[in-house]
Amino acid sequence: MSSESLILFFIVGAFLVGGAIIFSSFIAPTSTNPQKSEAYECGVPTKGITWLQFNIGYYLFALLFLIFDVETVFIFPWAAVMKEMGMVAFVEILIFFIILGFGLLYAWKKHALIWE
């Protein structure tokens, strides 16, 4: 099959979710009361606004992730030809890794890998 058929999977997935939600919203019983649509917080009304997160911890990891993700993506083609290319590829990736290893080491030493 050609790659166009990917769209098929997209459509089928969307159809599954959308169809089910539409079906459900038509047929399911409903009731309304003033408390229903309020945020659930262990059974007591919420105090303050729900915006609560300013946590640098999470975001630093997302940052590091992005950079390592680029790296991963670039290693894939290398991995595919490693077997055939042999030494040249090995040396090149060694350099690549050493450079990035520094990055990891730096992050480690800077305590960027400690969640806070």
Partner: protein, 171 residues
């Protein structure tokens, strides 16, 4: 009309439509999600052009990486009920007109230039081609940029850690 044409129009329409929404939506996280759709559709275009690797990279890095990071930073810096104030109508109209003019001009140029608009070789670069290209020092080889990328990433990592952690120390 063939299926691929339909799909192409679908993708193009998605791209244009959601691009517009991205730059006009008043809720920031929605804008990010619209951007995601744009990027995914672009990946779809790459798939259609048989550049599978590129499409996958687009998905992984753009959609799965950059957008996630953007969403993260939105989660950190804005609240669900926050909306942008509408941009001044004057500014909006002026920019829109300018952009439309530019776009029309460019499109005219494109249409008037006779591009060779048919694919002659059904080519689908395999991983091996890409791998060789990436690790080769000779002609059509990109070993140097490949290594430079690693330096760039290292620099980016240093920079972002330094920037992101700097304030902590001073406080």
């Amino acid at each position: 009309m063939t299926i691929s044409e339909i799909i192409f129009y679908l993708f193009s329409a998605t791209i244009i439509f959601f691009s517009i929404l991205t730059v006009t939506s008043r809720r920031i996280l929605r804008a990010a999600v619209y951007l995601l759709f744009v990027l995914v559709s672009t990946a779809g275009l790459y798939f259609m052009l048989n550049y599978h690797f590129l499409a996958a990279v687009q998905l992984t890095l753009y959609a799965g990486g950059i957008v996630v990071l953007i969403i993260f930073s939105i989660l950190l810096t804005s609240h669900i009920s926050q909306k942008f104030e509408p941009v001044g109508i004057k500014k909006q109209i002026f920019s829109a007109i300018a952009m439309a003019a530019g776009a029309i001009l460019s499109i005219m140029v494109i249409l008037n230039y006779g591009f060779n608009s048919l694919i002659t070789v059904a080519d689908n670069p395999t991983m091996n081609t890409i791998g060789y290209g990436l690790l080769n020092y000779g002609k059509n080889g990109y070993a140097l940029p490949f290594e430079v990328i690693s330096i760039l990433l290292l620099a980016a990592m240093f920079a972002s850690i330094v920037i992101a952690k700097k304030d902590k120390k001073t406080n």
